[in-house]
Symmetry: C2
Subunit: 389 residues, 2 copies
């Protein structure tokens, strides 16, 4: 039987990162590639208690079909939580999604036609490129530097359906946009008539100081905002949310209905039960202390072991260091040798929508314990030194 | 700020059924509209124990990012379970989805271009029309009768990307295709080069006798098969699966990755823990007995209270009676009066991709207790009699 594929299926391709993750499951390899949060910090006991309470108090509601918008009290919680971060929204603007990845898919589905321009940072989150790609947009790269995209670049993106921006500890670059740059970017986008899709997976995962308020706080009806519980609780729950301007919300809701009817009420109620009474106020400081130690361990190891000419900045949160190699060294070509030596990373080229920079790589500091970070970075340093010789 | 919508967003529209469900939340209305399974049959205690075991034995694995394909042991279970129903597949062909609704979305995403023909039954599952619609296909209605679509209709659908078929206790018509008709449909589809997308949400929910083997058992590589745990355990878990031919599986998997990375490992492990040792062999007979009683109650009530000229058949499983009204009575126009009288149903017109039949309606027998079914159908019968006078 011959199946005929949709044209958009050509834009679906195996995830490089997932293929690499499989490779690094071999014993003896220290993987700095994956972005797996430290599982030892999952609040297992508290979650077990929340589960038990939900199944004791509201089992039928938790296990029944539910509203596509999401569980009301959880939507209220999200709105209240965002207000604390400087973003005032109505709970009616909150749509609960299957992780923020689904938010990206819904945004692409509702806003992208074949050939639509989408402005993205360079580098940018690979999962967003994968979510948008099947809707066949043309990606336009925003010019920028270590500080972030330039406001002028947004003016040059006039006509784009939206600009996709990750202001907080971006995956992969780790950069956090300054308050001044945020204001300038939002104003430039508004002047150019380019809406913003803001992805904030890592805002609560600062380790030095909280990031400035979200772009959407200034962007108003010109911004969609995506958030997630994956990085503050546990990714295996697949729970995220999007905040949409009221005029846009119904179409995103209908896309959600068509995609999977609703996010599991079971998961939503458990998370709400867990966090309703301020659990995160105690939990997040623990996460921050833990990840600060790992961030510092990687920073120290990079200082000690990477050869001169490598460039990186210490991220103030998130999960990743972004390293630029000297002399045009090709991180993609180098990966097999690194894996043979016992260390894995993600080549940076995969994070570009165009104009790949093969002289970059991403290192995660979250999955591996500090002492193993040290030895893995030392191994990587030796390999790079050999190449430079 | 002006947001420009994708062209496909025009095909996203509010769910009629969900709007009606909201209407029928008013107190005093007996809703025969919704397809909510009887919540008193959710296996709450067993699920609470499974939850506790998963969070005790494999909490980190359950709460961490996981494979897009799904949890290995659950995929194995699905393959083994389908073999019992007559469908032999490799566990590698199983993709775990967020309910079978997501399976429909992925199928549409990978197989439908704007203007692609999709052959559907008349009536057919509304949620499938909603899942496929944003990919802008042209729906082609398969001619048929009370027994199901005619094999010749599949030949006339030559060139369609696929035929979407619900052989078991179809939502909304309740019809179950005979073994002979299944064979004839699969052979006709193969001869016409039309692949089949088979949706089996209700197969395990027979009340008289198990249905014949799935279309996919004969269809082989010419069929995708969709299944769900919603109707055998609980819909609030959002857990389903699709079985794809090996050549097609990678694209569907990549679409799944792009859509939400993976289905919650937490939910998958809980369900596997619950069902691994034969739980369903004890649970399903209880469901069947319970729903048989309600099916019989509605059958008896329809016989007693619907005026002459109404046509329906007693479904041998599933959740719905499908009623055809005499003299061109319009069930859509009649709904407000029915709600005023205290009973709700779903007008049948919503289940047609074209050539709506307004003289039809769908009644659910699963949500409401038998004695209330009786009085609600009596109310409906009085209303219809008044109209016919």
């Amino acid at each position: 039987m011959d199946w005929t594929l949709a044209r958009r299926a050509e834009r679906l391709n195996p995830s490089t990162i997932r293929e690499i993750l499989k490779l690094t499951e071999r014993p003896g390899i220290v993987s700095l590639a994956g972005g797996l949060p430290a599982a030892e910090l999952f609040p297992v006991q508290a979650m077990a208690e929340a589960c038990a309470r939900v199944l004791r108090d509201t089992p039928r509601e938790a296990l029944q079909y539910a509203a596509s918008e999401g569980f009301g009290p959880l939507r209220d919680w999200v709105a209240a939580d965002l207000a604390r971060a400087g973003l005032r929204v109505d709970a009616q603007q909150v749509l609960i999604t299957a992780g923020s990845q689904q938010g990206l898919d819904l945004v692409g589905k509702v806003l992208l036609d074949p050939g639509s321009a989408v402005a993205v940072e360079a580098p940018t989150y690979l999962g967003a490129l994968q979510a948008f790609a099947p809707y066949e947009p043309d990606f336009v790269t925003l010019a920028g530097d270590d500080e972030g995209p330039r406001p002028q670049a947004l003016q040059a993106a006039r006509g784009a359906r939206f600009a996709y921006l990750l202001p907080n500890f971006q995956n992969p670059s780790g950069r956090c946009l300054s308050a001044e740059l945020r204001d300038a970017l939002v104003d430039a986008a508004a002047a150019a008539g380019v809406p913003i899709v803001e992805d904030n997976n890592y805002g609560e995962r600062w380790v030095d100081a909280p990031p400035p308020p979200p772009l959407a706080a200034r962007g108003g009806d010109g911004a969609i905002y995506l958030g997630s519980f994956s990085k503050v609780l546990a990714p295996g729950l697949r729970l995220g949310y999007l905040i949409a301007p009221k005029a846009l919300y119904p179409k995103l809701l209908q896309a959600k209905q068509a995609a999977d009817l609703h996010t599991p009420g079971f998961n939503q109620r458990i998370v709400h039960e867990l966090i309703r009474d301020g659990f995160l106020d105690e939990h997040l400081p623990k996460l921050r202390a833990h990840y600060r130690e790992r961030r510092d361990a990687m920073r120290d190891a990079l200082r000690a072991h990477l050869p001169p000419g490598c460039h990186w900045r210490t991220p103030a949160g998130g999960m990743f260091f972004w390293v630029e190699l000297p002399w045009g060294l090709d991180a993609t070509a180098l990966l097999p040798a690194a894996v043979d030596a016992g260390v894995a990373y993600v080549p940076g080229a995969t994070f570009f929508a165009g104009g790949e920079r093969h002289d970059t790589l991403r290192l995660s500091f979250v999955t591996v314990a500090p002492e193993r970070i040290e030895s893995a970075v030392a191994t990587l340093g030796r390999l790079l030194e050999e190449c430079l010789r």
